[in-house]
């Protein structure tokens, strides 16, 4: 059995030798180069685009402006399409914008023979705007007087939904309740995958082929079809290795524009290589969410009624939209069940870069607000915050009516116990109480809520294909993509176990090609081992059945007495090896009696979902005069069900923890209040953690096999990014007594807070 073993990555050799080919490595060097001209106003109407001077640059082939593209609006979110118009994503993008809604919007595209000419010409394109007032604050944008971004959405509200249970007004009438209230802010951050988004397009056999650094090739195919107004079968999308995505590439980015440019230039190959600066501004970012939480609590710490108002800053276009804030609201209402709970979530357009999916999908924001708030309640009550959490957190057996998720195990307590031991919690908690002096230490923690995949919010469909080769090895194909997380390796392990072959005989096809790869939605929602697992299991069993049926012909034994183990056909009654699968495979193909190309392919529609819980402990040292937090130790503990590959799982947790550390301490996109321009659109000014900004990262697991899952697995990709920021914040609170209700806890914020609290 391979599931549960730390086998080496199937793509390790190619990646460690530099042979793994990414989009730009594959593009023809002679491809034309496209460069987007971006808006230099935060809000306005393009009156005129003067391309005359730009066109004189030698090497410029053509310039397309917002007046040259069809009025053909399309959605971009990496969601499965819905045939029900009410559930479709908002179609609010054009290939290029005449009404520009943020500083960095796409106004025109230059196509040239080389990158220098493209860049020179792009700088020379003169755009005349009718400037409009703009708004960047999420609550100001909801005011009647605020500038309106999209006519169809009054008060800029893309969506407003509520959620809850119990009679809130009745519940809070209980005598003796204590009321706690807090406002919490999270920043706009960016994914910062090291490979920027890049794509190229050309025409072949009457089709537009787009090779793209994307997480979602089949979805991109649909959106390119919608954007260009061409049948979806006329679009072919190929996804090679990608240098990270983290949700930014779970969106259709520049593929439609690139395809359009190629189409307009007779199908010549056009490459659109996004710069780092454009990645920060003109791709996607994580929603900043402002949360207002009110809790009514008994003096013994029992939560009675809780209320959340959340305001999610969508930026200029809908992209993934309300899903992010709504998911955060789900977490709020479920993590600490009480008598009555109410959630109000608003997603609001502003004149800022477009927010989309990013690792955690609303939960890092919700956990920062919720877990900071719980800590503050504990402090006010003089209670140990861990006890307060234990008293109120989701109990075993909790069943959520909407998605039928059930809390099967005591994961929270188990994870907390592991984390406490790992960080020596009780000893440190005691040691760090009541400190004075310039340099103080503290310890903090946070739990988190997560779930797996997107059912029942939207479709979960996955398909797998297996093809037997003459040597008994097989190809495996899925629509779920390898984006660095190790999905291909996990899939190969699952396929080997299901079919009964050695791992080295499973050839997972890493690249997706929508003309060839069975339909699948791609990689997102921490769903790949869960969702892909169903398709692999179902298809693998079908495939086995076909092999064994053929084996019956060769061995004259009944299928029910046959099995495939380690690549051999075995008689189960006595364990005898009847023949190697390789012999069967060769015979099946070349048999003069019965030639058969043995394959299997099936679709599994997933109609379940699974909770995935855990916690984080952080220990910090705060230098008060320097306003700096040094993270001394950090431990994440996860129950993500069965670990398919413990070593890769641990590695994935490290990456999520690193992102959470950045979220908690340093990362934040900044905007000029006068112009709406992004100020720190580069890796020097955007403070992504370096090797020197981390302590060693400790990842631990509790393994409770998920009952609804084909292989006992549930989500792990995003959860590690969720609890770190509040754990750090709570550790700083213990160290200094200062509650900071916004991330990142960078020196600028700490300086202000320490002054307010009289520490400086």
């Amino acid at each position: 059995m391979y599931v549960g073993k730390s086998v080496k990555r199937v793509d390790a050799y190619d990646k460690v030798t530099g042979r793994a080919m990414y989009t730009d490595d594959l593009a023809d060097r002679k491809a034309l180069v496209a460069k987007v001209v971006h808006s230099t106003v935060a809000h306005g109407i393009v009156k005129h685009v003067d391309t005359a001077e730009a066109l004189t640059v030698p090497g410029v082939v053509k310039i397309f402006t917002c007046f040259d593209v069809p009025e053909q609006r399309f959605p971009t979110a990496g969601h499965p399409w819905s045939t029900d118009p009410h559930h479709q994503d908002v179609s609010d993008r054009n290939l290029l914008a005449r009404h520009v809604r943020f500083y960095g919007d796409d106004v025109a595209a230059v196509v040239a023979e080389n990158e220098v000419a493209a860049a020179q010409a792009a700088r020379l394109v003169k755009v005349e705007y009718e400037k409009l007032p703009f708004v960047t604050d999420v609550q100001e944008a909801m005011a009647d007087s605020a500038p309106l971004l999209h006519e169809e959405f009054p008060n800029n509200i893309l969506a407003h939904t509520t959620m809850g249970y119990g009679d809130f007004d009745e519940a809070i009438r209980e005598p003796g309740l204590l009321k706690f209230e807090g406002w919490y802010d999270t920043p706009i951050v960016q994914h910062c995958h090291i490979e920027n988004h890049v794509c190229y397009a050309y025409k072949e056999n009457g089709k537009i082929v787009v090779v793209s650094s994307t997480q979602i090739p089949h979805i991109v195919r649909r959106v390119v079809g919608q954007a260009l107004g061409i049948p979806w079968g006329r679009v072919r999308v190929i996804k090679p290795y990608i240098g990270g995505g983290f949700g930014n590439k779970q969106d259709t980015l520049y593929e439609p524009l690139c395809a359009f440019l190629s189409q307009e230039l007779g199908g010549r190959m056009v490459k659109l290589d996004v710069s780092r600066e454009e990645t920060f501004v003109s791709n996607r970012v994580r929603h900043a969410v402002r949360s207002h939480i009110t809790s009514y609590v008994r003096p013994d710490g029992t939560f009675v009624a809780r209320k959340l108002e959340a305001f999610s800053n969508q930026g200029a276009y809908a992209s993934h939209g309300h899903g992010i804030c709504a998911k955060g609201m789900s977490a709020f209402t479920q993590l600490y069940p009480c008598k009555a709970c109410r959630g109000d979530a608003y997603t609001v357009f502003t004149n800022l870069p477009v927010a989309g999916a990013m690792r955690g999908y609303g939960i890092p924001q919700a956990m920062f607000a919720g877990e900071s708030h719980v800590e503050d309640i504990a402090r006010a009550l003089g209670m140990d915050s861990l006890e307060l959490r234990r008293k109120n957190m989701m109990p075993v057996g909790f069943l959520n009516a909407f998605d039928h998720n059930e809390n099967y195990y005591d994961s929270f307590n188990q994870c907390l116990a592991v984390g406490m031991k790992e960080i020596d919690y009780e000893k440190k908690l005691k040691a760090y109480q009541n400190q004075t002096g310039d340099i103080r230490r503290g310890i903090g923690h946070s739990i988190f809520w997560y779930n797996t995949a997107v059912w029942p919010i939207s479709l979960e469909s996955t398909s797998c294909r297996m093809v037997l080769n003459q040597d008994g090895s097989l190809q495996v194909q899925l629509g779920e993509t390898e984006i660095g997380q190790g999905a291909d390796t996990a899939f190969a392990q699952m396929a080997a176990d299901t079919v009964g072959v050695r791992l080295e005989d499973v050839h997972i096809i890493s690249s997706q090609d929508t003309d060839i790869t069975p339909f699948g939605l791609g990689s997102f929602a921490s769903r790949q081992t869960y969702v892909g697992g169903f398709a692999i299991k179902q298809t693998g069993l079908l495939f086995r059945e076909r092999i064994l049926t053929y084996a019956r012909e060769l061995t004259r034994m009944p299928v029910f007495n046959l099995d495939i183990i380690d690549g051999n056909i075995i008689r189960t009654t006595d364990g005898r090896v009847l023949l190697p699968l390789s012999d069967l495979a060769t015979e099946a193909i070349y048999s003069l009696n019965h030639s058969a190309h043995i394959t299997a392919e099936s679709t599994y529609q997933v109609k379940s979902n699974a909770y995935s819980f855990g916690c984080c402990f952080a220990e910090v040292e705060v230098d008060i005069p320097l306003c700096k937090v040094k993270l001394l130790k950090i431990v994440n503990v996860h129950d993500c069900g069965t670990l398919v590959n413990p070593q890769l799982a641990e590695a994935q947790v490290h990456g999520g923890m690193s992102m959470a550390i950045g979220y908690g301490l340093s990362e934040q996109l900044l905007f000029d209040p006068k112009t709406g321009k992004t100020l720190n659109d580069n890796l020097l000014d955007y403070k992504l953690s370096t090797t020197m900004d981390h302590p060693d990262l400790v990842a631990r697991f509790v393994e409770n096999a998920e009952p609804t899952s084909a292989f006992g697995t549930k989500s792990l990709g995003e959860p590690p990014a969720c609890p770190g920021a509040p754990a750090i914040r709570n550790a700083v609170l213990q160290a200094t007594g200062v509650a900071v209700n916004r991330v990142p806890l960078n020196p600028h914020v700490l300086f202000e807070r320490f002054k307010e609290e009289g520490l400086l």
């Binding site: 990414y22 990270g244 780092r276 370096t690």
Partner: protein, 160 residues
């Protein structure tokens, strides 16, 4: 177009090429020599994905003019592989320690690891962090990368 003939050693082989003077070394290595392990992540020397060894020292090739390579000895990740496709010890350690995820920062990081290991010195973990700090990685949290480099460093020095 202004060009210049340059002669240099690339991965052990003497090479001669007419170079567009506007080219970065990244451009030349990727486009002229098709050494695509040299990645573009920011093109302004902030991420380390394009890192190569020049006369034994690490440089971000994106902010190094290709014409400056004249007379230099340049090594990219492609130079580490044995003739039969055998991995070098540091590459094997990256595989064994699960130090690779998306793989995009990997070539640059490994070349810095080569520079570190070639000093034949023992470094503390904090010193290794500093020596590797010119590389941004969003997948690994650096943890297993540091583990891999530390493991090979100790092994080469005959330490447990």
């Amino acid at each position: 177009m202004q060009t210049k003939l340059i002669k240099c050693t690339i991965n052990g082989k003497e090479r001669e090429l007419m170079i567009d003077v506007r080219a970065s070394l990244t451009d030349a290595l990727r486009n002229d020599f098709r050494l695509t392990s040299v990645k573009k992540g920011c093109e302004v020397g902030e991420c380390g994905a394009c890192n190569v060894l020049i006369d034994g020292e690490c440089f971000n090739s994106c902010i190094y003019l290709a014409v400056w390579a004249d007379g230099k000895d340049i090594r990219t990740l492609e130079s580490l592989l044995g003739e039969g496709g055998e991995l070098s010890d540091i590459q094997q350690a990256f595989v064994d320690e699960a130090a690779i995820q998306c793989g995009f920062c990997t070539p640059g990081v490994i070349m810095t690891a080569v520079e570190i290991l070639d000093t034949k010195r023992l470094y503390t973990r904090d010193e290794l962090r500093k020596l590797l700090s010119g590389h941004l990685c969003r997948c690994t949290g650096y943890e297993n990368i540091i583990n891999a480099v530390e493991k090979v460093m100790k092994k080469r020095l005959g330490l447990p």
